[in-house]
């Protein structure tokens, strides 16, 4: 199904189908419309030189509107033969091997077939001379006695060419000979190398393992000559077909058994189909005989039952000839095979070959000869295999690309999701950090303000309270001294040196006073006349200072001479003001 679609796709929509017997050249452009063919343009020419005929026909067709470049050619130089080969179609041999087999069998047949295109036969077929005249020329050539001259003539003409002899004997003119020689150039060649094509048929009945193979073959140099000629006019000759026997694709597909007769001027081909395969075929070429005789010869050469259905492919059918053939064959199931577009200008062989080339209809009933030989089966072709390999690689790449694309998509999606999550978290973190910064900033601001407040408060307290209290304390001490000093006591000095008097070890303070610190300290030195006066003085100082929250510390009374060298007692003491250590510390604490 897919293959047929592919084939349809690659097949050309239009094809130039050419036909030539070496003397004339005609061509029709057939166009495929669905499963049918339609003839569009037609041209023909019968120039003395084939190249001129071809050029004239192609230019004519192009003038009519043909723009294609693909062509096939039907020629009598292509031999169609049915060979028996020990090759099973289901197990085909490689093409080179098959080619050798076919060539081995077909070469002698083609050589025999080529003898049909001798100058004598061509002169007879063209009607330039009779069979008797040709026999006379041959007799002269072979030295046989004849009424024309006998042995002397034989010695004179035995090494002469047939055409020249015929001309000299006055049977033909020089121009007639030249025409035949020009036509012969396109029908036969001295080259023995052949090009062939084949198509498998059914098994040979009597020989197990042998199969019929329908073979078409032509001299390779002849094929090349045609290809080159077409190429000169920008047309590619894709295949050559036999002139007779190419109508088989016109047979109905369900036609399993019967005889097809194809008549083309002086050639008649009878093909016997059995089980849908060509079982026998016979080609009769007799330029001197009537078409009816040729037809009957080929039919009877098959040696088959006359009750079989017969289809007649006849170009330019004449009612008389058709009925004559039917009557001569005595066949009840007899029909003319002339479907559209078979007409006066398009022969059944041309249509059959076109169907074979364009529609693949009845493929196995016809074999074509392609330049370069038959193409291998579709999947056997290297180009196809290479294409398939590249296709597989491309599919592999497509799969890999798809997998990578999907993987990349999933990765990109995952990355996008993660990035989105990160953005959310980052944003939240930034917001919170910003809040924290602002709070810290405000806290610091508040702390600074509190510090400023504390400093201001300290200044207010210091200058507004502490210093006035200090002034009061100094006045109070001076006042106390004035009150407590008696006549027995003399004050030597009052000093505010911060250094302590270290005459005595520091007394152990009661627990209540341990956490109190000295904030004011005055060293007092005095002299008393008596020890009692000294102690009284200390006691008086203690009493007088207690309202000021001061106390006497490190008091000491030592015997020492005083003023005027009088015996007395030196007094030393410290007047200190104590305050709670924590309160003192907190007083100047700034946050």
């Amino acid at each position: 199904m897919i293959l047929s679609l592919l084939r349809q796709f690659r097949q050309n929509k239009s094809l130039l189908v050419c036909e030539s017997d070496g003397f004339y050249f005609r061509a029709s452009v057939l166009v495929r419309t669905g499963d049918e063919l339609v003839a569009l343009y037609h041209a023909e020419s019968q120039q003395a030189a084939m190249s001129e005929s071809v050029g004239e026909v192609f230019s004519n067709l192009k003038q009519q509107g043909w723009t294609g470049n693909q062509a096939i050619l039907l020629s009598p130089s292509v031999l169609s033969a049915l060979l028996e080969l020990p090759v099973n179609p289901k197990k085909p041999r490689p093409i080179p091997q098959m080619k050798e087999l076919v060539r081995w069998e077909a070469e002698p047949l083609l050589a025999q077939h080529t003898t049909q295109w001798s100058v004598g036969n061509l002169l007879i077929s063209r009607g330039y001379m009779t069979q008797e005249q040709a026999a006379a020329v041959l007799d002269v050539q072979r030295g046989k006695p004849n009424p024309a001259g006998g042995l002397a003539l034989a010695e004179q003409f035995s090494f002469r060419r047939f055409g020249e002899l015929a001309e000299e004997l006055g049977y033909i003119t020089r121009s007639q000979l030249n025409v035949c020689l020009a036509g012969q150039d396109w029908l036969k060649t001295e080259d023995e190398e052949i090009e062939c094509g084949w198509s498998a048929q059914g098994e040979v009945a009597d020989i197990p393992g042998a199969y019929h193979w329908l073979v078409s073959c032509v001299n390779k140099s002849l094929l090349t000559r045609w290809v080159d000629l077409f190429h000169q006019h920008g047309v590619t000759l894709t295949a050559m077909y036999p002139l007779t026997g190419s109508s088989t694709p016109l047979l109905p597909e369900d036609w399993q058994e019967g005889v097809m007769l194809e008549l083309h001027s002086s050639q008649a081909m009878a093909i016997y189909l059995k089980h849908g395969h060509i079982h026998q075929q016979y080609l009769a070429i007799h330029p001197e005989k009537s078409p009816l005789d040729c037809c009957l010869e080929s039919f009877h050469a098959l040696n088959i039952d006359s009750d079989l259905p017969v289809r007649l492919a006849l170009w330019q059918p004449e009612a008389g000839l058709t009925s004559e053939i039917k009557l001569a064959l005595g066949c009840n199931n007899f029909e003319l095979l002339a479907p559209t577009p078979v007409s006066e200008t398009v022969s059944p062989g041309m249509v059959g070959a076109a169907q074979h080339a364009m529609l693949d209809s009845g493929t196995h009933l016809l074999a074509q000869v392609k330049p370069g030989g038959p193409s291998p089966a579709f999947w056997q072709r290297f180009e196809v295999r290479l294409g398939a390999l590249i296709g597989l690689l491309l599919i592999l790449i497509l799969i890999v690309e798809t997998v990578f694309y999907l993987h990349a998509q999933s990765l990109a999606k995952k990355k996008a999701e993660l990035a989105q999550q990160w953005q959310l978290i980052d944003k939240a973190m930034r917001n919170i950090k910003s809040d924290i910064r602002q709070v810290e900033q405000r806290k610091q601001e508040l702390k600074n303000k509190q510090a400023n407040y504390q400093k201001a408060k300290l200044r207010v307290t210091f200058f507004g309270e502490s210093l006035p209290r200090r002034a009061e304390l100094v006045n109070a001490i001076l006042g106390v001294l004035q009150q407590v000093v008696t006549e027995d006591v003399v004050i030597d000095s009052l000093d505010e040196d911060p250094k302590r008097v270290t005459l005595m070890p520091k007394p152990t303070l009661p627990a209540k006073q341990a956490d109190r610190v000295e904030v004011e300290s005055f060293n007092l030195k005095a002299w008393a006349a008596t020890e009692t006066a000294a102690q009284t003085f200390i006691q008086s100082m203690q009493d007088a200072l207690s309202p000021w929250d001061m106390t006497v510390r490190d008091s000491q009374v030592v015997s020492r001479p005083g003023p005027l060298n009088l015996d007395g007692f030196a007094i030393t003491m410290r007047l200190v003001k104590l305050r709670d250590a924590k309160a003192v510390k907190d007083e100047v604490a700034v946050p």
Binding site: L386, P468, R470
Partner: protein, 227 residues
């Protein structure tokens, strides 16, 4: 050379070469960059996953910003109130370098029949008062004067009011010869001056000269006044 004329072995070789060439070109120019790209993408994803795993959202601050702003405003008001009081207190102090106050002090001494031996500006000892309490610390930190803290009352007044401290005031050292009552009178009358003058150090000694009978003992007093 037509492809169809190649032998099967040559065809196989051509196909292998085409396949290898095809795969090499595809692998080198397309697959390798693609793999690198995906590898880079994978790395980025791993890095993002690590970042996400390590990411810790900090706790929101306990205190609200509005509450802090309110506190600040309240603090501002309190400070403004205190500033008023501070200005009032500071107005009771003489302007820095005021000669008028020194004249008044001299006049007051003279009024009390006190002989001024020395009347000079007093600069606290070169040793920074801040360092006085620092030797106790093993780690000595250089404290900037601007950020110097107020010294507690355990320090003497000179130290507490030294330059560089928050309570700095100019100081005046007076050495006086006088008797006790006039000295007391003089110190007492200092508080009646228009600006606040405080005796922050007091040292009184007897003069070595014995007073005559019926006369008062002469004293030498050294006063350091905070102006």
């Amino acid at each position: 050379m037509k492809l169809s004329t190649l032998s099967p072995r040559e065809q196989v070789i051509v196909m292998i070469v085409v396949t290898v060439l095809f795969l090499f070109i595809y692998g080198f120019f397309r697959l390798t960059p693609l793999l690198k790209e995906q590898s880079a993408l994978n790395r980025q994803i791993t890095q993002l996953e690590r970042k996400l795993a390590k990411a810790r959202v900090p706790d929101e601050p306990d205190e609200g910003l509005e509450s802090l702003v309110r506190q600040l405003e309240e603090q501002e008001k309190t400070l403004a109130l205190l500033q008023g009081m501070s200005e009032k207190v500071m107005n009771s102090l003489a302007p820095e370098g005021s000669q008028e106050l020194k004249v008044m002090i001299s006049q007051l001494a003279s009024d009390n029949k006190i002989r001024i031996i020395k009347n000079e500006s007093f600069l606290p000892p070169a040793t920074s008062p801040l360092r006085l309490h620092k030797p106790q610390n093993k780690k000595r930190k250089q404290v900037k004067p601007s950020s110097a803290k107020a010294l507690p009352a355990t320090y003497n007044w000179i130290q507490r009011m030294a330059p560089g401290t928050p309570f700095y005031r100019p100081m005046q050292r007076l050495v006086l010869h006088c008797d006790y009552p006039s000295l007391r009178q003089f110190i007492h009358q200092l508080s009646s001056l228009p600006w606040q003058v405080t005796v922050i150090r007091l040292k009184i000694e007897k003069l070595p000269i014995q007073p005559l009978r019926g006369t008062t003992q002469g004293l030498q007093a050294e006063l350091i006044l905070a102006l």
